[in-house]
Amino acid sequence: MTIMATPKQSAPMLSTQDYNPKSESTGTKRVKSVAFHAVALALTGVVLYPALWMIASSFKPNSEIGGTNTSLWSSNFSFDNFVTAMDGIGGVTTLQFFTNSLILAIGAVVGTVLSASVSAYAFARIKFPGRSIFFGMMIATLLLPFHVVIIPQYIIFNQLGLVDTYIPLLIGKFLAADAFFVFLMVQFMRNLPAELDEAARIDGAGHVRIFCSIMLPLMKPALISTSIFSFIWSWNDFLGPLLYLNTPEKYPLPLALRLFVDQTQSSDYGAMIAMSVLALLPVLIFFLVFQRYIVEGVSTQGLKG
């Protein structure tokens, strides 16, 4: 940041070309700024339109979603769609689906944070034979299409009688199967000064103590990013529940939504979209609360959405 600021001040006397931003008058600067915001705002409108359309439609009566559709406004806004959506589907209330999603997401966060931080500590801070080989394998699983493992995994869980339970969906989280989070934490820990644990070891602290009382507190930013993203990924996960869950009482929201789509078949668009909004609500709230955090996490750690 400091390098960027200095040349700007020294530039005006050096530059003569008129396209150089430094020789611009304040007038053209103004125009450029207005143009920038005009373009950026127009783009924001386009990008956010689907989300706004979704929210607007969820308050509109069915007749208006099918008709003059582009408009985001309606004089007949009401909560009717949400009332229908809350009734749920197949005799299960939407509240139940919500609870199921929440159980899965919280399980995913707890499992991922525990297992990924412990495993990352081994990779980042302990020297042991085989470490670099395992680290290479961990990186390789980052690029692995998960479809090569779903069939045998399904067969195993089926033989163990665990289909239609949450165990197949959660066990991977407790075994650090999301290599992305392990990698993220390894990178984070490697940037912490090595003197910290050396000093602690000289004091006679073992790895457990170093991990618990030195690493974990310092890793807070990485733990928070991991929690946010593992929550959102679990919340949005569709394939896992689709494979393993059969009874509607156990469905999380994405599966419930599919059931809703199947059974209503576009006869009640309004309620379907209202339920979609409800399903996204926690993610949107997370985003609004943690947006700086999330966007920073993506830009510094290369996390995907």
Partner: protein
């Protein structure tokens, strides 16, 4: 921490040599203890299943009867299976058009936003939001409604005299619809591009300006080479991701890949084969083919990267 000086002196003085080997032995034990969750998961959930899906890919297996060895039959059948070939076509089209468009949009917007103007943070967040929700079932439902008959897209285009009807039911328009869905999620790579752009020292542009370079030359001679490691990362990740699109395809096509197979993405067909027809050997073969293709593409991207990715570490 305060008592460390005395303690450290004592511990370094007393028998340094045996301590070291003892320590590395203890380290090895600690290492594997800490690594245990990942290692167990890796063996039970990744390595084991990979080996067994490779085995299954050479068998006929329906989940109920024991697998029957059929050699390379599954792989041979694939290339006569029209639905399979169609799914390859759909997926390749999606990856080849969707990914570069998405990255181009991401780079263009990142360059637009790369200034010190006010409101940058707001735009960045607003553009990023779709990446967080884009793969969800909710958005797939919204997309289906928006691109359906007399949906807002149809209405909007009709206003300009373009009457395409609903895109969802039109086999020629489903691919553009999916490409728009992925391009809409340009925010994640954009944020990464933006972080990369901020790393480029401004002096380079200043110097180029003084030499009389225009914006195009600046882009090709400064921005592109300096940003190439980030382009490389984004290209690799987005390509791998694009091959695995599933939820949106499943929801938009009601799990069938229609109309006329135009949304039969590879992973959707794999799912249908494995979990609807219970042809798990065939599905495993498809999974391994996907793994091999993704692996080869990764390799190609890595290999060619030497010619177009510049790491500033060695030039500086």
């Amino acid at each position: 921490m305060t008592q460390s000086p005395t303690l450290s002196r004592r511990s370094t003085q007393s028998a340094p040599a045996p301590r070291k080997s003892k320590r590395s032995g203890a380290d090895a034990r600690a290492g594997y203890t800490f690594l245990f969750p990942w290692l167990l998961g890796f063996i039970v959930l990744t390595l084991g299943p990979m080996v067994s899906s490779l085995y299954l890919s050479f068998t006929n297996y329906n989940l109920f009867d024991p697998p029957k060895w059929i050699g390379l039959d599954n792989y041979a059948t694939m290339f006569q299976d029209e639905r399979f070939l169609q799914s390859v076509g759909v997926t390749v089209g999606y990856v080849v058009f969707g990914t570069p468009l998405k990255l181009a949009a991401a780079l263009a917007v990142a360059m637009l936003l790369n200034s010190k103007r006010k409101g940058q943070g707001f735009y960045r967040s607003a553009f990023y939001a779709p990446s967080l929700i884009g793969a969800s079932v909710s958005i797939a439902i919204v997309w289906k409604a928006m691109f359906g008959d007399s949906g807002p897209v149809d209405q909007g285009l009709s206003f300009f005299g373009i009457n395409l009807g609903g895109w969802v039911g039109n086999p020629a328009m489903t691919m553009p619809m999916f490409i728009l869905l992925t391009v809409w999620q340009f925010g994640a790579p954009m944020v990464i591009f933006l972080a990369g752009l901020k790393q480029i020292p401004n002096e380079l542009y200043e110097a180029a300006s003084m030499d009389g370079a225009g914006p195009v030359r600046k882009f090709f001679n400064i921005t592109w080479p300096m940003l190439s490691p980030v382009v490389f990362f984004n290209l690799l990740m987005e390509t791998i991701h694009a091959f695995q699109i599933f939820s949106s395809a499943y929801i938009i096509s009601n799990g069938e890949g229609g109309p006329a197979g135009s949304t039969l993405f590879y992973t959707l067909y794999l799912y249908l084969r494995g979990f609807s027809d219970f042809r798990m050997g065939y599905a495993s073969a498809m999974a391994w083919l996907l793994l091999i293709v993704v692996g080869l593409i990764t390799l190609v991207i890595f290999r060619t990267s030497k010619s177009w990715v510049h790491y500033s570490g060695d030039s500086k």
